[in-house]
């Protein structure tokens, strides 16, 4: 059977799903519970839900809301956004979520990764890295949406997270986000080549060929937002997911 996981990403702010372009201009897509139900029907392998408002607005986790979302999902779920303490992690996992994604909190408190791994095991903890470029084209890590940026080696950061025990790296290209022009294959190759943990690539998928290219570049799993939410040149909103036969014909 196909081993490559193909993962829709839902970005939530408040009670709605949004889709951005390069982490900007969020466009309302619809109701998350409805989106989850459609992905259930279409047989998505897994789902990632990221609360993009949480980090920016200093909001934490809302257990009732997360539990409602988790109860709708008939596939494994990873949740990220606003997880800042071990208690937050506990709350999220108790809601029926399989994995937590830690991202912005790690800028100042990478030790949270270690604590979560010790408590819940590596497979439960995903390290999220958002990558942009500065005006000279050099790698930058974007934190808190893109509110703060730091120029540093992405490979180095990924290796650091691997050393702290994360189960996988969720690697998002800010530049490619929402463009549907293809993944940043060079970035995927560099990061996948520098760590042993699975790399989930995100940002830029526009076609099945793009998914294939990302896997060839070293991604263990391919994630996408726009690709599963838009249809056509005018980007009409249509939640979609390729059928298993089509995916298996293109991906290992």
């Amino acid at each position: 059977m196909r081993s490559t996981r193909v993962i829709p990403v839902l970005l939530i702010d408040g009670e709605g799903c949004y889709k951005s372009i390069r982490f900007k201009e969020p466009r309302y897509i619809g109701d998350p519970q409805n989106a989850i139900r459609i992905f259930n029907d279409l047989g998505a392998d897994e789902l990632v839900i990221l609360d993009i408002g949480a980090s920016r607005n200093g909001r934490g986790v809302d257990p009732q809301w997360i539990a409602d979302l988790a109860a709708e999902a008939f596939m494994p779920l990873a949740y990220g956004g606003g997880i800042r303490t071990l208690d937050d992690a506990a709350v999220v996992l108790q809601c029926g979520v399989e994995k937590i994604v830690l991202n912005s909190v790690l800028e100042q408190a990478a030790s949270l990764m270690t604590e979560c791994v010790r408590q819940y095991g590596s497979s439960t903890v995903v390290a999220g890295i958002n990558v942009g470029r500065d005006w000279l084209g050099r790698d930058q890590v974007h934190w808190h949406g893109s509110a703060s940026k730091s120029r540093q080696s992405i490979e180095g950061l990924a290796q650091h997270y691997e050393a702290l025990g994360c189960g996988e790296i969720f690697l998002q290209s800010v530049e490619r986000d929402g463009t549907m022009e293809g993944y940043d294959l060079g970035l995927i190759e560099r990061v996948a080549g520098s760590v042993g943990v699975p790399v989930v690539a995100c940002g830029g998928a526009g076609s099945l060929d793009d998914l294939k290219a990302a896997v060839n570049a070293g991604a263990d799993a391919v994630a996408a937002g726009s690709f599963f939410v838009y249809r056509g040149q005018k980007r009409g909103i249509l939640i979609n997911y390729p059928n298993d036969a089509d995916l298996s014909s293109v991906l290992p």
């Binding site: 059977m1 259930n40 047989g43 392998d45 109860a71 008939f74 596939m75 494994p76």
Partner: protein, 207 residues
């Protein structure tokens, strides 16, 4: 009516949602006394063997579940840890399981082409019935379900109708023994495959 045991550990809400979605009447069992009003039972479980047995014990579930399984002989489905506690015990812990299946649970040690695979087994994987399974539609060519576990059932007894899965070696991913069934995977996290599975369980008439 299907009763889903709720002892604090297990995806009860997801299971209820999925049963609801396929139009099967189900209720959350928050008290062992509620077992009297159902005709089928689902026993979910996640986490560690001892913690699940402790929760069942503390909630007063052990004797009532034993009565339901062995005397009333209701169709009962154990999911993940729910399946494991049907055995005698686990390498993972100290507590005894229900002992309805002879054998215990061992830690996965998956090796493929000389390489040790990651544990826990956390991924979709194929499930193959060794003999015809009452839960797997024969019209579906390949059965895939989501797995998330570190231990597996190691039961030598010959009376089991088994499902098997390969992960660095084959292991028993499901069984049927009389009115008891167990699956190591999570049908409630396996969308269409899970729904088909539960539809069959809802109609299952154990011999």
């Amino acid at each position: 009516m299907i009763g889903v045991v709720s002892c604090g550990l297990g995806n009860v809400r997801s299971i209820l949602n999925m049963l609801n979605r396929i139009g099967v009447a189900a209720v959350e069992l928050t008290d062992p006394a509620m077992l009297a009003d159902v005709e089928r039972v689902v026993l979910p479980g996640v986490g560690a063997f001892d913690t699940v047995m402790a929760n069942l014990d503390n909630g007063g579930w052990v004797a009532p579940l034993h009565h339901t399984a062995m005397e009333r002989r209701l169709p009962m489905l154990g999911i993940c840890l729910g399946m494991q506690v049907m055995s005698g015990g686990s390498e993972e812990g100290e507590r005894a399981g229900f002992g309805w299946v002879d054998g215990g649970c061992r830690r996965l040690e998956p090796v493929t082409a000389g390489k040790t695979l990651r544990v826990p087994h956390m991924r979709w994987n194929t499930v193959t019935p060794e003999t015809a399974s009452p839960f797997l539609d024969t019209s579906i060519p390949e059965h895939k379900f989501y797995f998330l576990h570190t231990y597996y059932l190691d039961a030598a007894e010959s009376g089991l109708q088994r499902l098997s899965t390969d992960y660095g070696g084959t292991f028993t991913s499901g069984f049927v023994k009389g009115n008891l069934a167990g699956v190591q995977f999570h049908p409630e996290k396996s969308h269409n495959f899970g729904m088909s599975f539960f539809r069959h369980f809802a109609e299952w008439n154990p011999a």
